[in-house]
């Protein structure tokens, strides 16, 4: 896929203050996302990981601080221009009722279209490739609501792929999927960084999957980044305790060689 043209050299959040109108969820957070790698954000519920992802995707405008691509604030770039650089798969994307799969994927081309150029050759190629990469060729003309959860998630990813952005943000892309589909989706994303050197940032709930697929791990708690770096370097039982308040033993995954976290039964009093 053609994403070589304006490949970003840097992607970061600088001194971000984030809130939904109420109390601040994130205060003064600075984060640098390594390009052309998979970054996974982990942390307990309510730690601000989805909030951070929304800010990076400019859905949530920071009350202070800025999100930068190539050291330029994305707020001061045209929204379509930014949409050609970064795309997001939200946690619960909404679809219009009775929509056909290919129709939905085609809508991902919006930032590349204009009032006159509605269906260029590039559009067609991008959509065809997105559908075949996600294995949806046979479902292209089917209504979305006839598909299973896993297939539907692939459709949303296909739409994100059709957008052809060098940076892809995904908010819990594997939630509600069984283990086979979780692996399938994560393998697909991994292949994408390898083959077309994309920058991927995602929030994952499953700690072990996160550790296995992440090249860069960001662990958050209470709106702060507690630790970040290569999973093999940063995942320790101390770090798991710091972030999730659980006792865990870390062993090495015999298959992937990545750290594997085994939570220990908690003998202390529950609250």
């Amino acid at each position: 896929m053609q994403t070589n043209q304006d490949k970003p050299k840097s992607f970061s959040g600088q001194d971000l203050y984030l809130s939904y109108g109420g109390p601040a969820i994130v205060e003064g957070l600075t984060v640098t996302i390594p390009t052309e790698e998979i970054t996974v954000i982990i942390g307990p519920n309510g730690c601000g990981k989805s909030t951070l992802l929304k800010a990076l995707a400019r859905i949530l405008i920071p009350s202070k601080g800025e999100v930068q691509i190539n050291e330029m604030d994305i707020q001061f770039q045209s929204t379509k221009e930014v949409a050609r650089k970064l795309g997001l798969l939200p946690q619960n994307p909404r679809s219009p009722e009775t929509i056909i799969v290919s129709d939905l994927v085609r809508r991902g081309r919006y930032p590349h279209q204009s009032i006159f150029s509605q269906w260029s050759r590039d559009d067609e190629v991008a959509v065809t490739e997105a559908l075949s990469l996600t294995g949806l060729n046979d479902f292209a003309e089917r209504p979305l609501d006839e598909l299973s959860g896993g297939q539907r998630q692939r459709v949303w990813i296909a739409m994100l792929l059709a957008q052809e952005t060098p940076i892809m943000l995904l908010d819990e892309p594997t939630t509600h999927l069984d283990i086979a589909h979780q692996i399938e989706i994560l393998d697909l994303l991994k292949d994408l960084t390898r083959e077309s050197s994309r920058t991927i940032v995602m929030v994952l709930h499953d700690l072990n999957l996160a550790v296995r697929y992440a090249e860069n791990l960001i662990a958050m708690r209470d709106g702060e980044i507690r630790i970040s770096g290569k999973p093999t370097d940063v995942v320790t039982s101390q770090m798991i305790h710091d972030v999730f308040s659980i006792q865990a033993q870390i062993i090495t995954d015999p298959v992937s060689g990545s750290p594997l976290c085994i939570p220990l039964p908690n003998d202390m009093k529950h609250d």
């Binding site: 045209s78 997001l88 679809s95 009775t98 559009d123």
Partner: protein
């Protein structure tokens, strides 16, 4: 007299309905056959995609409208032979039927088509934008807003000449009020509907108040107007509608792409580069103007904006520019058909067209509600 004896109104009536049903069935069948094949055109930087299915649906509806238009010219209290009726409408300005055809029937038919187009396209935009098939300008209070000012003028015995302007203004003010009341760090679709329904009942109460307060003979005129009627439609009305449609329909057409993006929800829409509040405001404005335009000419005719887009999307699928055009034409066909039935059903007593659209629309709406409830 002799002519009347051969073709009783009953026969004419059933023929009209039969032809309309036949044409609809045929075009649906054709559309089903063609399925989702599409044609792509590219010329320098200009490119686009047309679904062949939509082309057929549009063509079919156009033919149906023309057939209904011809029928409308011929059928009436004063029977006119088909060849004479069509000749008079198209070129013969000196024939004996000139007044009936060119001053009464023809403008009324064209007004029905154009007003139907306005209502249906407005309804389609509202339904697609709010992602709810049970929403239309008449349900969220825009028609009622028009009615408040119009009824006030009629009941107070004001100048009838101001009626269309009052209705137009009323509709727009209401749309603006609903928009402002539902604003809270942006406008959400659900809030818009809820606020709209509230405003609708509030304005309904105002109308009741006016009708109770003023003398009965004036109130009757107001009640008649409120049902929505094409009685007395003139070429002046045609001109008003044409000018309005000429501006609004292309705007709506070019906004459909943005609408398709807004349908994906705010988060996805922002990430693919939509300026959501600006686009949503533009679409609401165009849809409200379309409804206001139609209401100002034919009154708050209900159900066209609600059920025609429903039927259109069932046949044609999710909104595109092509689907918008098809929906508009289907609205024209539906209102024209409804008006012809309203005129002929209890001839020589003429019903307001709104009675017919409500007769068809009411049960259909209930059916939709039932289906919607079952689905959820």
């Amino acid at each position: 007299m002799h002519y009347l004896a051969i073709t009783t109104p009953t026969l004419q009536r059933s023929l009209t309905v039969l032809v309309a049903i036949l044409i609809t069935v045929i075009s649906v069948r054709l559309a089903d056959k063609i399925r989702s094949r599409s044609y792509t055109f590219r010329w320098y930087k200009v490119s686009g995609r047309i679904q062949l299915k939509i082309v057929w649906l549009v063509a079919g509806t156009l033919v149906a409208i023309i057939v209904l238009l011809g029928t409308g010219l011929i059928v009436g209290d004063y029977p006119i032979p088909a060849s004479r009726a069509i000749a008079t409408a198209l070129w013969d300005r000196n024939g004996e039927y000139d007044f009936i055809i060119n001053s009464l029937r023809f403008p009324r038919i064209v007004v029905a088509i154009l007003a139907g187009m306005c209502f249906a396209s407005s309804g389609l935009i509202f339904q697609s934008l709010i992602n709810n098939p049970l929403v239309s300008p008449d349900i969220i209070g825009i028609n009622t807003g028009a009615a408040v000012l119009a009824v006030a003028i009629l009941a107070a015995g004001g100048n009838i000449g101001y009626l269309p302007w009052a209705a137009f203004l009323g509709a727009l003010l209401t749309a603006g009020l609903i928009y402002l009341l539902s604003w809270k760090r942006g406008v959400s679709a659900t809030r818009l509907v809820l606020v709209g329904i509230g405003v609708n009942s509030l304005l309904g109460a105002v109308i009741t108040f006016i009708t109770v307060k003023y003398p009965i003979e004036r109130v009757i005129a107001a009640a008649r107007w409120q049902a929505g009627t094409l009685f007395g439609a003139s070429w002046g009305d045609v001109r008003t509608l044409l000018i309005g449609l000429f501006v609004l329909l292309p705007s709506a057409f070019f906004l459909t792409n943005r609408l398709r993006i807004l349908q994906l929800g705010d988060e996805t829409a922002i990430t693919v580069g939509s300026r959501i509040e600006r686009d949503r405001l533009a679409l609401l404005a165009v849809a409200s103007l379309l409804a206001a335009l139609a209401v100002s000419v034919v009154g708050p005719l209900g159900f066209v904006a609600l059920i025609v887009p429903q039927a259109a999307r069932l046949l044609a699928g999710s909104i595109t520019g092509g689907v918008l055009i098809f929906t508009a034409l289907l609205g024209g066909f539906f209102l024209l058909g409804a008006d012809l039935i309203a005129q002929r059903l209890f001839a020589p007593v003429m019903l307001p067209a709104g009675v017919i659209t409500a007769t068809f629309g009411g049960p259909y709406f209930l059916y939709l509600l039932a289906r919607y409830n079952r689905a959820n």
